[in-house]
């Protein structure tokens, strides 16, 4: 039996889905959290009939006829996939709006059960809903529930499963002037007069409005936003998360585990090469990444609290007027904040943006926000090259903001965009974020992180270890520069010369970074475990032979601002839905990271050391070629813009 959950955005569908299935899907207090259809088997607790039940969570929609990309999926699914029964979640906080979608669902010929959600809010407001009147008017069952506390869910599942096979009669609207939709709204108003006794007056200024007047204030809004985000990152990266990660890296994976393993293997008398593979390749590489687990857990915990509170929609309101100037929508900020945890859900969240151009640009720009997987790289470089300073992390976020603004302006000039943008954002009432939900989300992310570290990263590391320990004749080699990895890295390495990066190791680390960004750190861990006695995560550690602080910072920027990992690139491809734009986006990201690193290396070296860095002359040529290319593209875009105006 297949039960579909359908309802308005932010009506509590995903909360209900998680409660029914025991899953830990992403929830948040803003419209458009669910962008993908999700299917799962119901929990044993609610499996009250013999036939196995599957629950399908659909993205939220205000109506059957699509408005944004995300809504198209809902109507397509409901119309084509034909579930056995639809549970229509009606938002108790806005019954009249929800019923518009209900009247449309009733016409699909699939039995509908209305779940009147947020019963707690209805009671708190003092409103009284007459369920029987509503059932009579709609011609379907109505069950009152509170998804957050799992109240009434058994009753809901029972009603839904007994409705399977029942014939659903559509409502008949008296169609006066050929406008069916107006008839729907009038009909809803009439039946609500009978079934809803409203004590609460929504149009009066409430506490949420008063909070909004401060947090979305013309002048205070932006500083408050920066302060909150700074607080989140400071707590995650420097505070609790950083402290725990530091302990894991330095003590647990730096000393305790390798020492224990080495002792064990030496005792047993294992082949030293085998011992090196396990200790340096597998444990060293994966450990270098797993060490950052606490940091990432704390970050996701904080982001989850923030999203659950309802603040995200307000940030969109604050940012709208600034983002419009660079061709984005205020809604573009939500993918970017989500992307500061992980770029994949970030890129997927662009689906809530109605305007195609704004959506494409947000898809290109979101991966510039440093994600959780990039934090290990930032932390490593910060500790090795800039010990006892705290500006490296924040400076990366400031550069990210700068890169996004400049890239937005540049993209606007490079390509021809149409301009029919508008902005509307629902502002849900604030609520106390659920600690339980944040903990669930945190462990869910931790699980994903450990999974990634023990699969992709482990495999990559073993491969990297193998490639640096053997030569093409598959003989173990003591000299790293004769290894397979060195010869592969050397092919790419010349491309990095204009950036002032010399050495096949750097090329190799950057390439592995595309598979997962943590790999950059893991690859260094493997490479230097063999080549150097010095530990990786200490000031002046093994890495310092490869870089000056300036080129180290440039290398950091290069890895953060070139295209994201393959998984996120895949998400970009899916959201762009156009090969042309996908490749344009990738090329753009690549050029941004490359040019940024180039500028940091050469300007930085000139200013700080008063000399030219390695690769200065090639860099000049690259910059010239880039400038010519960009000018050509802008000219071409201007030309098409004028012809576009002329044809109009």
């Amino acid at each position: 039996m297949k039960i579909a959950l359908a309802g308005n955005p932010n009506s509590g569908k995903t909360t209900l889905f998680n409660a029914l299935t025991g899953k830990t899907e992403y929830v948040g207090n803003w419209a458009g959290v669910t962008v993908e259809m999700k299917v799962a088997a119901i929990k044993n607790k609610y499996q009250i009939v013999d036939e196995p039940i599957d629950i399908v969570d659909l993205p939220g929609a205000y109506s059957i006829s699509p408005f944004t990309g995300e809504e198209a999926i809902t109507s397509d699914f409901v119309l084509e996939a034909k579930p056995d029964v639809i549970i229509n979640i009606v938002d108790g906080a806005n019954i009249s709006r929800s019923l518009f979608f209900t009247t449309q669902l009733l016409e699909l010929g699939i039995p509908v059960v209305v779940a009147l959600n947020k019963a707690d809010i209805i009671t708190k407001r003092g409103d009284v809903v007459n369920g029987h009147e509503l059932e009579k008017a709609l011609g379907c069952k109505v069950v009152t529930i509170t998804a957050t506390t799992e109240n009434g869910l058994k009753e809901l599942v029972k009603t839904a499963s007994s409705s399977v096979g029942a014939k659903q009669e559509p409502l008949n609207f008296i169609d006066l002037d050929g406008n069916n939709d107006v008839a729907r709204q009038t009909w809803i108003n009439t039946i609500l007069e009978k079934s809803l006794n409203k004590k609460h007056n929504a149009s009066r200024v409430n506490l949420s409005d008063r909070i909004d007047m401060v947090v979305a204030h013309k002048w205070f809004g932006l500083p408050i936003f920066f302060l909150i985000m700074w607080g989140v990152y400071a707590f995650s990266i420097e505070g609790l998360g950083g402290f725990l990660s530091g302990y894991l890296n330095d003590v647990v994976f730096g000393e305790v585990i390798p020492d224990a393993l080495n002792g064990f293997f030496e005792g047993v008398g294992v082949n030293p090469l085998m011992q090196a593979l396990i200790v340096d390749g597998a444990v060293g590489g994966v450990g270098a990444v797993i060490g950052f687990l606490p940091l990432i857990m704390v970050l996701f915990f904080c982001l989850s609290l923030l999203e659950d509170s309802g603040y995200m929609s307000r940030v969109a309101v604050i940012m709208d007027r600034y983002f419009k100037k660079i061709g984005l929508s205020g809604k573009s900020i939500i993918p970017m904040i989500v992307g500061s945890g992980c770029a994949i859900p970030g890129v997927m969240a662009t689906r809530t943006i109605e305007n195609e151009n704004e959506k494409r640009m947000t898809t290109i720009l979101t991966p510039f926000v440093p994600c959780g997987a990039k934090l290990p790289i930032i932390a490593l470089f910060s500790v090795v090259f800039f010990p006892n300073t705290s500006w490296v992390g924040p400076s990366i976020y400031i550069i990210a903001i700068g890169v996004i603004i400049i890239s937005g302006l540049l993209l606007k000039k490079l390509f021809v965009w149409d301009n029919t943008s508008f902005f509307i954002m629902e502002l849900p009432e604030y609520k106390m974020p659920s600690i339980k939900n944040a903990i669930i989300q945190m462990f869910d992310k931790a699980k994903g992180f450990i999974y990634k570290a023990t699969t992709i990263i482990l495999v990559m590391n073993t491969l990297v270890w193998f490639m640096q320990a053997f030569n093409w004749k598959l003989q173990a080699t003591e000299i790293q520069s004769e290894s397979i990895l060195a010869s592969v890295g050397s092919v790419i390495a010349p491309l990095l010369i204009p950036l002032g990066f010399v050495g096949w190791q750097l090329a190799a680390a950057s390439i592995t970074g595309f598979i997962a960004k943590e790999n950059v750190v893991a690859t260094f861990a493997v490479l230097f475990a063999m080549a150097s006695e010095e530990a990786l995560h200490v000031p002046g550690g093994a890495l310092s032979q490869m870089f000056t602080p300036v080129t180290a910072y440039a290398f950091l920027a290069f890895n953060l601002f070139t295209p994201p990992c393959f998984a996120a690139i895949g998400a970009m491809n899916a959201e762009m839905d156009s090969k042309k734009w996908f490749f344009r986006g990738l090329a753009f990201q690549l050029s941004v990271g490359y040019i940024l690193a180039l500028l940091i290396t050469h300007i930085g070296t000139l200013v700080i050391y008063g000399e030219t860095a390695v690769g200065f002359v090639p860099a000049i040529f690259v910059l010239l070629a880039y400038a010519v290319g960009v000018t050509f593209l802008i000219k071409r875009a201007n030309h098409s813009k004028t012809t576009l105006v002329a044809t109009e």
Partner: protein, 71 residues
């Protein structure tokens, strides 16, 4: 009178929604159409905060201009 000219804190009846069909259709599903009430709660960061039925929305200047109210 269009919404961007209306007084903050007051409830008005909508006379007409102008502009792009996509916008009109979307506003309609929210319950924002001819004959319905709309309350202007505040103006924040260049956007108008309005109440339609039982929910709050932020709309930008362009959208506010396309909503005509009874004076």
């Amino acid at each position: 009178m269009s919404l961007n000219k209306a007084k903050i804190g007051q409830t008005f009846t909508i006379v007409k929604i102008e502009g792009h069909e996509k916008i009109r259709k979307f506003l309609f599903t929210l319950g924002c159409f001819e004959g319905e009430n709309i309350t202007i709660i505040s103006k924040l960061a260049g956007n108008y905060i309005v109440n339609i039925k039982d929910s709050r929305y932020a709309i930008d200047e362009a959208m506010a201009k396309s909503i005509r109210l009874a004076a």
